[in-house]
Subunit: 197 residues, 2 copies
Amino acid sequence: MKVGILLFEDFETLDVFGPVEILGRLKEHYQIDFFSAPGGVIKNYHGVAINTKKLELISEGVNIFIIPGGPGTRKEVNNKYLIEIIKQISASSKYVLTVCTGSALLAKTGLLNNRIATSNKRAFDWVITNGEKVKWIRKARWTIDDKYYTSSGVSAGMDMTLGFLAQLHGIEFARKVAFHIEYNWQEDKSEDNFSQQ
Amino acid sequence: MKVGILLFEDFETLDVFGPVEILGRLKEHYQIDFFSAPGGVIKNYHGVAINTKKLELISEGVNIFIIPGGPGTRKEVNNKYLIEIIKQISASSKYVLTVCTGSALLAKTGLLNNRIATSNKRAFDWVITNGEKVKWIRKARWTIDDKYYTSSGVSAGMDMTLGFLAQLHGIEFARKVAFHIEYNWQEDKSEDNFSQQ
């Protein structure tokens, strides 16, 4: 399956590269490409710079669309062009996965209306203002609603991506991937050590 | 402190971007740069491409030198130029951190001789052939020996980096960083769920 990862200025590093580590090693199943609205090099506040294709080229179709979070989402929720193209691509993709505040961008399209979703617990109160008809779940490591997967903050994206593999390939397959990257996978999506405080 | 991260063809994605997520967000303490022997764009098998500075420019000094692992280490252990420059930079750096099979590259320099170290559990038997005088510890999430920190496979680099923060800034500081990235940090470096099998 083709995996398209959305980048924008000040994306969160691990939101992107956690899922990339997990899906990228399964080359027989997943092929990853990076996209952004303007195309070209996209940087973040950790000093990471990644070359991207123009998002409109994705119209040829991706099967899995991944939307990370990061400080940049605060600006991008007001980028009407970006939200519109996220809406189009998400609607036509087989699966949509958001990490951290990436769910704010997806919520802004309206596609999460009447669906369950979660997000970063430190940014939760802001995130939910971007989708008042979304059934936000504060205490969840990640959520699944039909084709939409949303995760809590940063590291939770890895747990969700493994949960996604479990849905598509079975739990033993996902456990094997976690084992190979020596990751202590939190398998229970409803357990959330970060929702209090 | 200046952080220099070594890249080479087919580095492991998360070995690099786990530590980058953790140190990169502490901009008041750490400034990250990517280096490689040839300089320029370095790619890996997950389709990640990062622009790097030439490794010899690092001679101006870094405080923390990070060596990731990945399939590329199998080739690079035989790259005499790279091993020699890793040796020089490691000797002059205040701290050296290796992730996964990155410890094979550091072991090859001889700097780990008579020191404790660990590595990826799936590649362990190969790794230890690169440093017969190293006191290899099979069951460890990460190890500390003076200025040398070495971690187990892939995800363990994040636990080690948080352990490094705990040494320098105290355990509560490290816990706070883990909390902010919603990471279930395994704080005990001697606990290792991946050393059997």
